[in-house]
């Protein structure tokens, strides 16, 4: 079992004719994911990497009604329209790799998605991978590298950082373990899918025995996790690393690292660690430590 994706998932790529879109098609297909269609207004009828291109999401959906996931590879100023088009067409999971989307556009998309119970993963998310099942987006990199880093296993991985999704997964592999699903949630201020959302899925997933999170200072998403654990909605072992202790030396309102990593009162790395610890979460001092903490449970 895995979360978010399995061998039957049918994927659409919006912005398929661009450089990044093409790279994503190749990455997904070489990992065995079924990319069935692409969209690029004005280029309907073309073929990219063997995949048919449509002018609109609606046309792609009529040709492939079983599409359940779409990935967005368009420039930031076109992202809102692309995401809303996917929402209108009721695609249940929308993975957005686009970085630097204005926060107002993200908020608009999230409000529309929520009404229809549609899941947004990202923005600024490289995607997610379930070893042996498939991947959405480019997380893990070229197949040779992805196979060095990922193997099916019992550890769920959640990261605010794309690079660290891979790095952390590698540390897990190096320790002789494997991953159930690794998700790059993206580093924006507003996260479409939060830690808590994913922990709910990992809780139900039999393959997942423990979860690791690479978090950052700023934002209040860790506090949701605390509530979940208190309410027994998440009961598996969880190890968390929160980066950015050094950021205390900067004034409030400054963001270092990702857009969401803002220095804020009451939401520093240290303060988050204290409350997480109080509900039994394992706190890692370094990201390498995450694997050491979680290994006995995996």
């Amino acid at each position: 079992m895995s979360i978010l994706i399995d061998k039957n998932t049918k994927v659409l790529v919006q912005g398929i004719t661009g450089k990044e879109g093409q790279k994503a098609v190749a990455a997904m297909r070489e990992y065995g994911t079924q990319v069935v269609a692409g969209v690029r207004p004005g280029k309907g009828g073309e073929v990219v990497e063997g995949i048919p291109v449509f002018d609109s999401v609606q046309e792609a959906m009529s040709a492939h009604p079983d599409i359940s996931t779409t990935t967005i590879y368009v420039p930031p100023f076109a992202a809102k329209a692309a995401i809303l088009e996917a929402i209108e067409n009721n695609i249940s999971i929308i993975n957005t790799i686009v970085e630097r989307i204005p926060i107002q556009d993200t908020a608009y998309c999230l409000a529309s998605a929520k009404e229809k119970n549609i899941r947004l993963i990202g923005p600024s998310s490289l995607g997610y991978i379930s070893p042996g099942e498939g991947r959405v987006g480019v997380v893990g990199g070229p197949l040779v590298l992805a196979n060095q880093v990922f193997q099916p296993g019992s550890v769920g991985v959640i990261s605010r950082s794309g690079g660290m999704t891979n790095e952390l997964s590698w540390q897990i592999r190096k320790a002789g373990l494997g991953q159930s699903t690794a998700v790059h949630v993206g580093g924006d201020l507003l996260m479409g899918t939060t830690y808590a959302d994913l922990l709910k899925l990992f809780e139900k997933d039999i393959q997942t025995k423990a979860v690791v999170i690479f978090g950052e200072h700023g934002g209040g998403y860790e506090f949701e996790v605390v509530e979940m654990i208190k309410n027994k909605e998440f009961t598996k072992p969880l190890a968390v690393y929160i980066g950015g202790k050094f950021a205390n030396m900067f004034p409030e309102g400054m963001n270092i690292g990702h857009a969401g990593a803002i220095v804020e009162k009451g939401q520093s790395a240290e303060e988050k660690e204290v409350v997480l610890k109080s509900v039994g979460v394992l706190i890692a001092d370094t990201y390498e430590d995450l694997v050491i903490k979680i290994k006995p449970f995996a």
């Binding site: 107002q104 480019v138 950082s161 690079g163 660290m164 950021a247």
Partner: protein
């Protein structure tokens, strides 16, 4: 980006929020002339800095004649308001205050939607106000107008939406004696990522640190400008007090590595990260600026196992800079990912031809451990 009070108030007034009569003084301005121009006897003089707490740091002074005004302006320009640069002094009419309220709109990250916060206890930090005296109204971003019995609620909402703000705060929102409301202060943070729909966003240089940007910071910022601004970033550089130059890959790794650097007792000369797949030229420009800081004792180049960043390509950018600068201090590199073997070969050749004191590691060792390697090399000298 945070705006100065005078910039924020200009925006407020465009959206129908009343602001005090005022005039901005720069360092070079003739104070007497400006005071006469404003033509109001009792004034308040406010330091223009990027973060609050100026009231407690003599950044707000009152005056009633030209001598007092001159003295106050001089004092404010000389003052150190928590290390922040005072870009100007805003001279405003002194208000007859009947009540001080608080009004703001920002994003609630948990609910992922905007929230309006209102309190009748204004004039102090909202964090210091009792919860039961604070009213919170969550707003649907798709609402064009809001209808609340709160002064300026809809004006601020229009302003928030159309300005692409992250934060808008009026504190205090002042009720003046003739029953009118006026924004006595303005705190606005705009969303830099929305710049493409705001051709009017031309602001004077500043840093989030509150000080003026350094020459290096200004140079780095330029690297990512232009129509392909979103294709791989190579433009993050914050100049710091330490002596270890750093070049980190990716926002997450950069944060973890900064923490690791402090943990081993080293101090960074800068905070820098590049991410995505920036072209070689962008990386070269960035690396050259990072290496240009005087007094460096070491260089740490570190990143995780990349997903799709071409290691040989980004290394080539760094190598171009190393070939030119030829640093004598120790260099430690930790990086893995696509094309890592070629990247390592190129880097080793560069070290050889320039006689660099350089160690390069791949994914066999974790990032943090290579900070220790740098400490060892520095101590061996």
């Amino acid at each position: 980006m945070n705006l100065y009070e005078f910039e924020g108030k200009e925006i407020f007034s465009k959206f129908g929020i009343a602001i005090p009569k005022s005039i901005l003084l720069r360092r070079e301005d003739n104070v007497i002339k400006k005071y006469n121009q404003l033509g109001i006897k009792d004034v308040v003089l406010k330091a223009q800095v990027l973060s609050g707490k100026r009231g407690k740091n003599s950044g707000i002074l009152f005056a009633s004649n030209i001598e007092e005004v001159k003295l106050a302006v001089e004092k404010i320009f000389e003052s150190n308001i928590r290390g922040q640069y005072v870009c100007g002094v805003l001279m405003e009419e002194k208000l007859n205050i009947a009540a001080e309220h608080y009004l703001s709109i920002t994003y609630d990250t948990n609910k992922k939607q905007p929230v309006l916060i209102y309190s009748e206890s204004g004039g102090m930090d909202i964090e210091e106000v009792d919860e039961d005296k604070i009213k919170k109204v969550w707003l649907d971003i798709r609402q064009e107008n809001i209808d609340l019995d709160i002064p300026y609620a809809n004006e601020l909402w229009q302003c928030f939406l159309k300005t692409d703000a992250r934060v808008m705060e009026i504190n205090p929102l002042v009720k003046i004696t003739d029953e009118k409301w006026i924004a006595a202060d303005a705190k606005i943070a705009i969303d830099d990522d929305a710049f493409f729909r705001h051709q009017d966003w031309i602001f004077e240089p500043r840093t989030m640190l509150g000080r003026l940007p350094t020459d290096r910071e200004i140079q780095v910022k330029k690297i990512d400008e232009g129509e392909n601004y979103y294709r791989g970033t190579a433009g993050k550089y914050i100049e710091m007090d330490g002596d270890i130059a750093v070049l980190f890959s990716g926002g997450g790794a950069s944060i973890a590595n900064m923490d690791a650097l402090f943990q081993v007792g080293l101090k960074p000369a800068n905070y820098t990260e590049y991410s995505g797949n920036p072209p070689r030229e962008k990386v070269t420009q960035l690396a050259k600026i990072v290496l240009s800081k005087p007094g460096l004792r070491g260089l740490w180049i570190a990143g995780g196992v990349a997903n799709f960043t071409d290691i040989a390509a980004t290394f080539s950018g760094i190598i171009d800079a190393l070939d030119e600068v030829k640093p004598a201090y120790p260099i430690v590199i930790r990086r893995a990912g696509p094309n890592e073997i070629e990247g390592k070969r190129l880097m080793e050749e560069c070290a050889k031809r320039n006689n660099l004191n350089l160690k390069i590691f791949g994914k066999e060792i974790a990032m943090g451990a290579t900070a220790t390697a740098l400490v060892d090399m520095i101590n061996k000298k």
